[in-house]
Symmetry: C2
Subunit: 427 residues, 2 copies
């Protein structure tokens, strides 16, 4: 039987792992793929570099993208180079040349997903992206196939390993954000410029992909509300713990009265919630479906092996579909829909306020909240007979715009030093 | 487009949920299934009974199995009647008549899986069983499709909701097995005859299905080692907690030196292990794959909605495959392989021994262990200056046969009242 021939765009950690797994598990993979699978060629920057590739393999190395995107002897492109400079254009070219695409590129998908889906559709090729949303966790397949019978009500995910590692350390050790970041950078867990992780960009890309699939909408990445973890203090983590919560950076997407909300922000979740015990660099996606109820998938969201595992699942699906003469089963989002603005979303809120130690302070704050219809579930005063004193409040469920209006008024009160932090509470 | 026509064997909780979901999510389901899906007919015991079926639906009720298994106007049989009396034979008849089968029947699959797979293969029809192993958790799809690129090293699952609910209550409240069982029965969480759950039969069926798929072997259900939770005492749970462990009833399958082991038994797992925080009636399956690393799926293993969610995923897969003109993608296990006997498996062990309060007792016990090459990781003496005293030991990793030999010798020591409990420690 003719082998299905793969062309790799990129041969870094993930690409090399894909080559190694195909060599090691050849029999199992060809059994599932309906015939042999072969890595024919890989695009690299430098063909002269020594690489740790399986012996006996015949992977041609090339520095010419066209040798892959336009090659007659390539059936499936595996895009594991990442980034936004070259990859999206190469993927489009390849699809226009009739090649099926497996990609792990979250940035490209979140930004150009609709366009890429359209090119795939127009050229009758498959576009597969299991590795783009949560690494080794089979969340795309689960949403697209296993949960077909469900209306998904909400999706909440820990989808950035670096920040989860940092928050886990801060929670366990009481360390500050800056100290943990420096250590994570020293250990190679965080990048020299950590912006994409700690400001929630990486998580927002992944959430856009997941929300689009779960709610069958086209999510504009620029509409996803995004807050990072840079403002989280050891005090917030201690306060949360005292109230029975753990702080996690969550990507949350939810159907809300016919509209979809999608937001990435640090969140207090009950310590008994399954997401609360997802620690270190692990990822997890929690889904509430109308039939299945609560479902959570937990695993590694990054790294060569886990990402390659997801890429391989896509390769096998692509091979099956090619042999069946059909394109990929994922449908492009049909509905173009504006996200619900963050001010219209509903949540409970954790609010830390620094105030003067003075009679009547709490009364004036409570009055300001009441004026906007914000009711308080709990109030803790931290630090006694010191000045300033810290008030920690948790609200009942309320629309964000009312909280914002109340906090604007409270910030003007003469007895209030500052609003130290405002975080959402879920679960 | 011609609808795919379903015939339901059984219209209880799961069957009714399937009918309701298909009615409620018709558009989404037909979109994914490549065309309309219709419940044509259902086998029931009594056609006169009032049922809560969606209005406007045209589900014919029949008491004649042949009106489904032999009907020309049925494409897919959905077996949700369960049990071993009628179901396996009806499923075989239907497949011989060219009908694809979706089944939630774990007993039938674990007992006759190889035979059913063969009938499916011989008649070129699909046999789908996502709902049979862990209800709403998409573990079959994950193993069969998402983890294709992996060699699975081990699989550990909490796959019986009743016992997990009971152990959770015992852990939280310190209650005895008998008290929790009585309460679970009163609440309808446990059956009047709880044997299938508390003795681990239900979990063993599911483990046989999962192990067969994960390791591509044919597992004889009678070879699966099985221990229930009836002997677990509040003291065991307290001791485990003190040592940093939680007790769960686990189904464990593992590749061990070329052989497969499959066993169901109460197990001490570290409280930080992801499985340890799976509480109440929730199920979870933890997998260690060579590429993906640690992966866990968590959700509801039983109930109408979750089971119907899994059945629906299978129905949609079956519809796609019928429209593509191919049978199901699951392959029958090819290798027939004997399981590793439990005496040859390796584990750490928790051992509680009731002894006389007397100098030299510990020395004689330690000597007996040492003679069999069993080394001890920790020893705690519970109860001081009382008689008898309880010794709680945890061994290092060792083959079961050596532990058994040592305990046989220890039971003969004059200072030993009894071996109170022996449990395995994993994770």
């Amino acid at each position: 039987m003719q082998p299905i021939r793969l062309g790799l765009l990129g041969l870094g950690t993930v690409g090399s792992a894909v080559v190694r797994i195909i060599a090691e598990n050849a029999e199992r993979i060809s059994g599932r793929a309906g015939g042999p699978v072969e890595v024919r060629r890989a695009l690299v920057r430098d063909t002269g570099r020594t690489r740790d590739l399986p012996k006996g393999g015949a992977v041609e190395l090339t520095t010419d993208p066209a040798a892959i995107t336009e090659a007659k002897d390539i059936d499936v492109i595996v895009e594991v180079m990442g980034g936004m400079t070259l990859a999206p254009e190469l993927v489009k070219q390849a699809m226009r040349n009739g090649k099926h695409v497996v990609t792990a590129n979250k940035d490209a998908l979140a930004t150009f997903g609709v366009e890429l889906s359209k090119v795939a559709l127009d050229n009758n090729v498959g576009l597969y992206y299991e590795a783009a949303a949560a690494g080794g966790i089979p969340i795309i397949k689960t949403i697209a196939e296993a949960l077909t019978g469900n209306r998904i009500k909400a999706l909440m995910g820990i989808i950035n390993g670096t920040t989860n590692y940092m928050l886990t350390r801060m929670t366990r050790e009481g360390s500050s954000f800056d100290d943990v970041l420096a250590e994570a950078q020293a250990l190679g867990y965080a990048e020299a410029d950590p912006t994409s992780d700690v400001e929630g960009h990486d998580a927002a890309y992944k959430l856009a992909i997941l929300a689009g699939l779960a709610f069958d909408v086209n999510v504009d990445i620029n509409e996803v509300h995004r807050e990072g973890i840079t403002a989280i203090t050891p005090e917030d983590i201690r306060n949360a713990d005292e109230l029975g919560y753990t702080i996690k950076l969550l990507g949350i997407a939810r159907e809300n009265d016919g509209k979809i909300e999608a937001r990435v922000h640090p969140t207090l979740i009950p310590t008994v919630h399954p997401l609360a015990s997802v620690n270190d660099a692990f990822n997890a996606v929690f889904i509430d479906g109308d039939a299945v109820g609560e479902l959570m998938l937990y695993g590694r969201g990054a790294g060569g092996g886990p990402t390659a595992s997801a890429v391989l699942a896509d390769i096998v699906d692509a091979c099956q579909n090619i042999r069946l003469g059909i394109s990929g089963r994922l449908t492009a989002p049909t509905a173009l829909q504006q996200l619900l603005p963050i001010t219209e979303t509903t949540s409970r809120y954790y609010i830390a306020i620094s105030v003067a130690e003075q009679t009547g302070v709490l009364a004036s704050i409570a009055t300001a909240f009441a004026k906007e219809g914000v009711s308080l579930a709990s109030v803790i005063q931290k630090g006694h007979a010191s000045d300033p004193v810290s008030l920690v409040l948790v609200t009942h469920s309320v629309k964000e715009k009312h909280v914002r209006a109340a906090l604007d008024a409270i910030a003007q009160l003469p007895t209030v030093h500052s609003i130290t932090n405002t975080l959402r509470v879920e679960g």
